[in-house]
């Protein structure tokens, strides 16, 4: 019986560690430009720009769990205060969202310049733009991915 419980706890620990270190990829938006199926010589390129996103609520939940694990009355009060902070954050950031919160929305502004650096001829075909998130427990990568082919 003890061995059985021990095995289950080891497996659950492994699952938790795996979940903490692996990310979930969430697609948000996807668009395709005009496609070229001719046999013209082309070079494929892929561009990623990203910004760190935060889930403050889940971060606070982790802190609360840490406080409550000590089982002291002062910690209980702090955890209750943090609940209020969590509500404030939720209320002040409510509304339709794409991905998690970032401190900067300018990270995709230079995409056209970066594309030009990858394709000096400027003849770009088969362009795809993908807005996605790589989600970890508290932080995330808010990603804009551009793929296409450059006619040489």
């Amino acid at each position: 019986m003890f061995l059985y419980i021990h095995k289950i706890s080891v497996v659950s620990c492994l699952i938790v560690v795996h979940l903490l270190y692996s990310n979930c990829a969430i697609p948000h938006r996807y668009t395709i430009g005009d496609l070229d199926a001719t046999n013209a010589p082309k070079k494929h390129f892929k561009i990623l720009v990203s910004e760190r996103g935060y889930n403050f609520e889940s971060g606070i939940t982790v802190v609360q769990a840490g406080l409550l694990s000590a089982n002291q009355s002062a910690n209980m009060e702090a955890a209750r205060d943090l609940e209020f902070v969590k509500i404030l954050i939720t209320l002040s950031t409510m509304g339709p969202v794409t991905g998690r919160k970032t401190f900067n929305s300018n990270y995709a502004n230079d995409l056209s310049d970066i594309i030009y650096q990858h394709c000096r001829s400027g003849k770009i075909i088969n362009l795809q733009s993908i807005r996605e998130s790589a989600v970890y427990p508290v932080v995330s990568g808010e990603i804009a991915r551009i793929e296409g082919d450059c006619l040489e």
């Binding site: 979930c24 990829a25 668009t31 005009d34 496609l35 199926a37």
Partner: protein, 102 residues
């Protein structure tokens, strides 16, 4: 009786789906004379909870379109990206259609 109600509620709940249109894009449309051959492609990924570790399925759509129009150009593409949510699963679906111009 109560078990029957719970089971039938669960059945109804699992058979319900919510569809969300995440994004739609449309490219400039070709002339009327270039609209002879309309092609379309769909790619999807069925995900349990949120355990999706890559979005490579998205790249299948343009490949499928190109396969249907070898040696030509595909213009006027309309791309739809939608998610269908079931109780424990999510289906990511990309639908695209356009005109093959030789």
């Amino acid at each position: 009786m109560s078990i029957k109600i719970i089971v039938s509620c669960l059945f109804l709940f699992t058979s319900l789906t919510c569809v969300q249109l995440q994004s739609i894009s449309i490219n400039s449309q070709p002339d009327l004379k270039e609209r002879d051959l309309r092609i379309e492609a769909t790619s999807s990924k069925f995900v349990f909870l949120a355990f999706n570790f890559n979005n490579d399925f998205l790249e299948e759509t343009p490949k499928k379109l190109i396969e249907q129009c070898q040696g030509g150009k595909i213009k006027g593409i309309v791309t739809k990206f939608e998610t269908v949510s079931y109780v424990f699963f999510t289906d990511f679906i990309v639908k695209a259609n356009g005109y093959c111009v030789q």
